[in-house]
Symmetry: C2
């Protein structure tokens, strides 16, 4: 299978599903515009693609889980909009164009982010899902969305990121905390949602979780490396931000080369957790290996 072709197909699938979902909100004019601007055209859609791919590996189909894949992308986009705000990172560029607050103002960007978080929960709690999934699995997934986006997840990571950069303190433990909460928690949510709705056993869910956490940390390290060595033209977002904001990253602590090595090690370790399942989750390990190419 050609992985790039696969990723492109899945990305287009996610794009059109998101467009269809946001469409009915058109009535709300400015807000719809800000939400729609932020969501489409989107980024790599990594989290939804991981969710679709995991579910497909389990059940041999992906259609039932598409709304959840859209929801996780909405959560991701919400966190980007809020992180980009002038009162946080003050970023001008995202996904190749001006950030939401640059176009719609900080108040509308704030509210577009807020709306996306609520919308994600609205989507995943739709009672139509009861035709396809057990109620207890749905409830568990909603709970995981709550935890992964909150204090013990996204928000907690972002807070530690700000606190540690204000204090100028960089140590391995803090960096790992930030990468796990800020990035790995959503990637883990993607795989766990697929695992829970696909009703895999406890051991398998644990393996998927362990893989996703390693992959998530590696993905954030790759992001940090690219922030240090790439350009806005290539990445479509501001670079050199981590140094400017004195962010606690492995690049800052150990340098680019060592960070690259760590990203690779995380991926290999993660892949090890899926070994007991043979080829079943090959698509996940392929994607993980593929992301490493960005820093090669």
């Amino acid at each position: 299978m050609n992985l790039e072709k696969y990723l492109k197909e899945k990305r287009e699938l996610v794009d059109s599903a998101i467009t269809a979902m946001v469409g009915p909100l058109k009535g709300s004019s400015v807000l719809y515009a800000a939400v729609s601007y932020s969501l489409t055209p989107g980024g790599k859609r990594l989290r939804p693609i991981l969710m679709l791919s995991t579910y497909n590996a389990i059940k041999g189909k992906e259609e039932p889980i598409i709304p959840f894949a859209c929801a996780i992308e909405m959560v991701h986009t919400y966190s980007l909009i809020h992180d980009d705000l002038p009162i946080v990172d003050n970023s001008d560029l995202r996904r190749g164009r001006a950030t939401a607050h640059k176009v719609y103002g900080s108040d509308m960007a704030l509210l577009a982010g807020d709306a996306l978080l609520s919308f994600a929960f609205e989507i995943i709690s739709n009672r139509l899902h009861l035709e396809k999934f057990r109620e207890s699995a749905l409830l568990a997934v909603i709970h995981e969305f709550g935890v992964a986006t909150g204090i013990r997840g996204l928000v907690g990571g972002q807070v530690m990121d700000i606190v540690s950069s204000n204090m100028g303190s960089i140590d391995k433990e803090t960096i790992l905390y930030i990468e796990e909460k800020k990035t790995a928690s959503l990637i883990s949510l993607a795989l766990r949602t697929a695992g829970i709705l696909g009703e895999v056993g406890e051991e398998e869910l644990k393996a998927l979780t362990d893989f996703s956490l390693e992959f998530g940390v590696s993905y954030q390290i790759i992001d940090d490396v690219l922030d240090a060595i790439s350009s806005p033209e290539v990445l479509g977002k501001d670079t050199g931000q981590d140094k400017k904001n004195r962010r606690a990253t492995f690049v800052a602590l150990y340098g680019v080369e060592e960070a690259k090595k760590m990203a690779n090690e995380c991926v290999q370790k993660g892949i090890g957790f899926l070994a007991p399942f043979g080829e079943k989750y090959k698509i996940l390990t392929d994607i993980a290996e593929y992301t490493l190419q960005r820093i090669k």
Copy 2:
């Protein structure tokens, strides 16, 4: 029954339940401080008290619904924190003291709000609720939380509030839209959550909804009247804000006296919807009448 005593007892019940819920988050230091500061001591706890009272009227107990009452207060507090931010209303005073961003900075206030929204969903999707409520009722309630806090609720109202005040346009329809979305949607959520989890019939749920929407609009009108005629010392928050921000309110459109009359009319109309149930929901109509006293 002495209503003031009743409200005080319920307020204390909500206060201690919230304190117990937020306690386990202590590890997250600054964020916990910002969240805890914003939540306690709280305001009147109107929304959770309405939820408890409604459920009690239906089932003769309130314990099972306490977590949901806490969650709605968290949602309410989240919306206050975000509305108060310098990039929106830029308010300095809330609940008798400095707003969250004045104490913890705009970035932490933003994230404390974000955390509270996620936390609310985390709380209401806890699987322990399955011991007390049917799964389909739980799922319905989570969905209602998503809708009421999103584009078709809180956020939508806030956006229209900003847009209309920027444009300086004030007409009855716009004002009603704002009051319904910004305020009535959460008050309605309080009653509907109790009705759905209490498993009342469709007609009864509709009556509760109709009452709550009228009451919600009246409550926002009362708030607008107080903003015009009261003081920060009495209210514990900045006053005169609506005029300053050229907000679209009935006070601005018709004046204080006419607005008072409208608030009263809404309450009376709302009470009418509950008439078919005799004394069952007397506590709700008592609370609604009581809120009117603030502008007498």
